[in-house]
């Protein structure tokens, strides 16, 4: 046991620090994901409007965000805003802005797809039953849209969680950075800490993403019949 690098985990409060790092990761992802869902649903609804100007604008936004690597967006917001406009944002705030911009674009496109995949006769039969427009959305359109949306949205959230590892590069100390610090600090005493720390980080990511996917597939399974 003495020679195993895993002991580095139990030195000082290392494990606790890693968990705190993971918490930063989760916090950034969850806030961004929540904002993305709200704005994405609005954007998706706007995208179904058949107005040429709206279509062009939303299209440009979507393509811009998709083409730009997330890292470039992070640099743009974190360094660009400061040097150009003198706006000084913390790394975490910049990260949340970037991930929300990205998530909103992706989510908006998913919502748009789900909405236009609902056939016209679904709206018609609602009207034929004498429902008010709001009841048509509440009982007919939204439940069907949600079902189509949840697997795709979950996929987006897990991708977001994994992509947050980039925020190290704008100085946010999240789980990967904490891991590196621990490795560096114990370079001489525990040379094989690298393996153990990254293994732990792997499991932390795995557990978080797995819980989310498992929840999603449970929902899908329940809705199947």
């Amino acid at each position: 046991m003495q020679d195993l690098g895993i002991k580095v985990l139990f030195m000082g409060n290392n494990f606790w620090r890693l968990l705190m790092g993971m918490w930063i990761t989760i916090r950034i992802s969850l806030i961004s994901a929540a904002l993305s869902v709200v704005f994405g649903i609005l954007l998706g609804m706007v995208m179904t409007v058949k107005h040429p100007l709206i279509q062009v604008l939303t299209r440009i936004y979507l393509e811009f965000i998709r083409i730009m690597p997330q890292l470039v967006l992070l640099f743009l917001v974190f360094f660009g805003l400061t040097s150009t406009f003198g706006i000084n944002l913390s790394g975490e705030t910049s990260a949340i802005i970037v991930f929300t911009l990205w998530g909103t674009a992706e989510m908006g496109d998913l919502v748009r797809g789900a909405l236009i995949s609902i056939p016209k006769h679904q709206y018609e039969s609602g009207r034929a039953l004498g429902l008010e427009p709001i009841q048509i959305y509440r009982y007919i359109i939204i439940p069907q849209t949600l079902r189509r949306l949840i697997p795709l949205a979950i996929n987006l959230v897990t991708r977001m969680i994994k992509t947050t590892s980039l925020v190290v590069l704008i100085g946010v100390v999240e789980v990967v950075k904490v891991g590196q610090q621990i490795i560096e600090a114990n370079r001489y005493t525990v040379p094989d800490a690298t393996f153990w720390i990254y293994a732990v980080i792997f499991f932390l990511y795995f557990i978080v993403c797995w819980v989310i996917s498992a929840g999603a597939s449970a929902l899908e399974h329940r809705w199947k019949n």
């Binding site: 006769h121 679904q122 018609e124 004498g130 009982y139 809705w223 019949n225």
Partner: protein, 250 residues
Amino acid sequence: MEPLIRVEQLCKEFQTKDGTFAALNNISFSIDKGDIFGVIGLSGAGKSTLVRCMNLLERPSSGRVWIHDRDIAQLSPKELRRTRQKTGMIFQHFNLLMQRNVLDNVCFPLEIAGVKKKEARKRALELLRTVGLEEKASAYPAQLSGGQKQRVAIARVLAGDPEILLCDEATSALDPQTTKSILALLKDINAQYGITIVVITHEMGVVKEICNHVAVLDHGKLAELDTVAEVFGNPKSKAAKILLHGELEE
């Protein structure tokens, strides 16, 4: 008999990129209370548009539709919704709520109308008995065959206690045997509840099976209107002859 539905000089035009297309051209007729009325025509003849004008899923370009001597285009949104609840409609694609089981689907219009849950369930079960599906009450639509889904849709429509039932190609997605049984059910409903039924179809067999009167539409115009016996025995319009003989004549 008093006419329940009167269609008066109804026109409906659509704007396409090649100009204006007249889907319905000056159609007038009336439907008696308790009748089973067929509207038949080849695809594109305007049958679906016509039936959609009867509950204002489509707004007519000109002309009027009267139900109970009220011009439905003049109704307030609230009155229109009430009229729609009394004018049931069933579709080719059934349009059940997939996330609710059969019983809850039938309960749905009752819930919306504010009927108490217990009462709604009791009434829904009765209706499921009427359509012969009571043992499927807790099944989900995905587990049913096409004919069974259409029976659920009929039960759901009946829950609204309608006076009129509009059937838009209601049997077109079903095999001949199932079609027969659904038509028999519609006939029963007409006899039992006195509901006026309007049947839109492209199959002469359907008209022959249940209708009393039939209107033949041809390119948006009313080509012929008479009793089913007369149209079948002595068709006058070209469209009726084509539909009867199932082939295009030169």
